[in-house]
């Protein structure tokens, strides 16, 4: 609802943009009527919400196809990028965070904390260009930008995704590592850790089975909340690396004042965000058997 109202109050006239500079005012009026823009706001909103509930997001002003179809087309690159990013981030951040907490105050701990402050501060696109410059231009290891569909060539698909995912995972790693460190640190101070050590369990087993397992819930929570950052990052990363995904679509739609598309994409992203966090909430049951719904 918020999304709809916000966007319709904009002064830019999509009909005028579509018609181009040479159009007469009659042509513009005709386009406006065909898009349904001449009807009162309340009616436009009523029609929109009714259609959303039946899965119809309307037709894109600019691309001239259904928004739902449009989103479907752009889904693969974005999910691939986000999926690989989450994978990299979790695989790197959780062990690092746990080890940092284990050797609290040591060199790993201090460098990880420094890295996480840095990770929060270096903007995604600055990092993206730094990596492009270093890995693609200087070393020539990976392609500069672009995207290859998974069905076309799996090898090239992965090759094109590595750099964008690395870029995007830095801030995510910073976030997850920080929370992992804090919650493992808290768990390590508990009595059951002393008990586990006292009965002579190997240190690795204490760290993983006892400390990390008990720190799982906050870690899962932050992975879910981090999806908000990830969505913002996807928009930027896709623009830098010229990946034809949902993020790129968002920017194009805003520049073209293509309301149905903007609404559809924002609605879709918000839905994914809420859904991911719901799934994470449900996963608590497995992570911590004490929790029951």
């Amino acid at each position: 609802m918020l999304v709809f109202l916000l966007l319709r109050l904009t002064p830019g006239d999509p009909a005028a943009i579509l018609a181009g500079d040479a159009a007469t005012s009659e042509q513009i009026a005709q386009i406006r009527a065909s898009l349904g823009l001449d009807r009162p706001l309340v009616m436009q909103f009523g029609i929109w919400i009714g259609k959303v509930l039946t899965g119809d997001l309307g037709q894109s002003f600019y691309f001239r196809i259904d928004v739902a179809t449009l989103i479907g087309q752009r889904l693969e690159p974005t999910f691939a990028l986000a999926g690989l990013t989450i994978l990299i981030a979790v695989v790197v951040a959780v062990p690092l965070g746990a080890l940092a907490a284990w050797r609290f105050g040591g060199w790993l701990d201090r460098s990880l904390m420094a890295f996480s402050v840095l990770g929060f501060s270096v903007p995604v696109f600055v990092l993206a260009y730094l990596l492009i410059w270093l890995v693609s231009l200087q070393l020539g290891w990976l392609p500069v930008q672009g995207y290859v569909r998974i069905s076309d060539n799996f090898f090239l698909f992965v090759k094109h995704l590595i750099l964008p995912s690395l870029t995007l995972s830095v801030i995510y790693i910073a976030l997850i590592a920080r929370v992992t460190r804090a919650s493992v640190l808290e768990a390590l101070g508990e009595d059951y850790i002393r008990t586990a050590r006292a009965k002579g369990l190997p240190e690795m087993r204490v760290l993983v089975r006892h400390a990390l397992a008990n720190a799982a819930v906050p870690i899962a929570t932050v992975i879910g909340l981090g999806v908000a950052i990830l969505i913002g990052g996807v928009v930027v990363t896709e623009s830098v690396y010229a990946i034809p995904g949902l993020g790129r679509l968002t920017v194009d739609a805003v520049l073209a004042r293509d309301f149905p598309t903007i609404q559809g994409v924002i609605l879709f992203f918000s839905l994914v965000y809420v859904l991911v966090n719901l799934l994470i909430d449900l996963s608590y049951v497995f992570l911590d058997p004490r929790i029951r719904y």
Binding site: V3, F120, V126
Partner: protein, 285 residues
């Protein structure tokens, strides 16, 4: 006590320097950041060239950070861009704090409004900040004010939640109870008794918002949906420079470094403030 913390010293020091640079930009060997000269296009950093002012006067000028594809001086543009970033960061933080504090006080103190207000806030929080900002900028024509407001809006719920949780603790304190029993009006209790006790955590939160706002402004400009391209902002310089990044990386490099250093300084300052002013929060994070 606060000034003895090294994070505060470093972060604050760098910020003070940047503030100085922003204020003194016209006297630091810069030219008009919007001035372009076709003869001085795409110069490498440190190269000397000429630039013609609007009065028709031709100046010898060393392009410390090179020039862009219009022949504009990157050094001048980056220095003037400092102004925009600092103003946006500060203003967005102040706006988010102002609205968040009022909403948080109301939600925490007037219980009947709490449910409704917090549901609205939850609704806003369900949409990622970048998307809200992009949508708001798309709604109004981008100007300095709309960009600031667009960045501040997604931050309001976070401030509201913080203030509300603080109010819920503070309102149980004996001195609030005493004020209530003396018949003090609700607004006076909120602003004179509760608000002063929320200042330290709010200051810390405000610093983080400021860092995020500077980052978000650059992202919006970089995507081409932020401030109009004729205003020199770090994001705009990078957006214009990205087209020829392969041949002339300095267009993206210098504003990028300034941006990263600024955000880093604000974040370090925030960490330092948190450690000294709000030890309870320091333990939590």
């Amino acid at each position: 006590m606060v000034l003895r913390n090294w994070s505060v010293r470093i972060g604050g020091g760098v910020l003070a320097l940047l503030l100085l640079v922003a204020l003194a930009a016209p006297w630091l060997g810069t030219v008009d950041p919007t001035l372009f000269d076709a003869a001085s296009r795409d110069l490498r950093p440190g190269q000397a060239g000429e630039i013609t002012t609007l009065d028709g006067e031709t100046l010898k000028h060393v392009f410390l950070m090179g020039s862009d594809s219009f022949g504009r001086d990157i050094y001048s543009r980056v220095l003037y861009g400092t102004r925009v970033s600092l103003v946006v960061g500060l203003a967005a933080a102040l706006i988010a704090l102002a609205f968040g504090v009022v909403a948080g006080l109301v939600a925490g103190y007037l219980r009947w409004l709490d449910g409704l207000l917090m549901r609205v806030m939850d609704g806003v929080m369900a949409i990622p900040a970048v998307l809200i900002a992009i949508a708001v900028v798309a709604l109004w024509r981008a100007s300095l004010l709309t960009v600031i407001v667009a960045i501040a809006i997604p931050e309001i719920p976070r401030v509201t939640r913080l203030v509300r949780s603080l109010v819920l603790t503070i309102r149980e304190e004996p001195y609030v109870e005493a004020a209530v029993s003396l018949g003090t009006p609700a607004t006076r209790i909120m602003f004179a008794h509760i608000l002063p006790n929320t200042v330290a955590p709010l200051l810390v939160q405000g610093t983080y918002i400021c860092a995020f706002a500077i980052l978000l402004e650059a992202i919006l400009s970089f995507l081409g949906v932020g401030l109009p391209p004729d205003i020199p902002t770090w994001g705009n310089i990078m957006a214009e420079g990205r087209v020829q990044f392969v041949a002339y990386p300095h267009n993206v490099f210098f504003p990028g470094v300034f941006l990263a250093v600024t955000v880093l300084a604000v974040n370090i300052l925030g960490d330092g403030l948190r450690d000294t002013l709000d030890p309870k929060m320091a333990k939590r994070v």
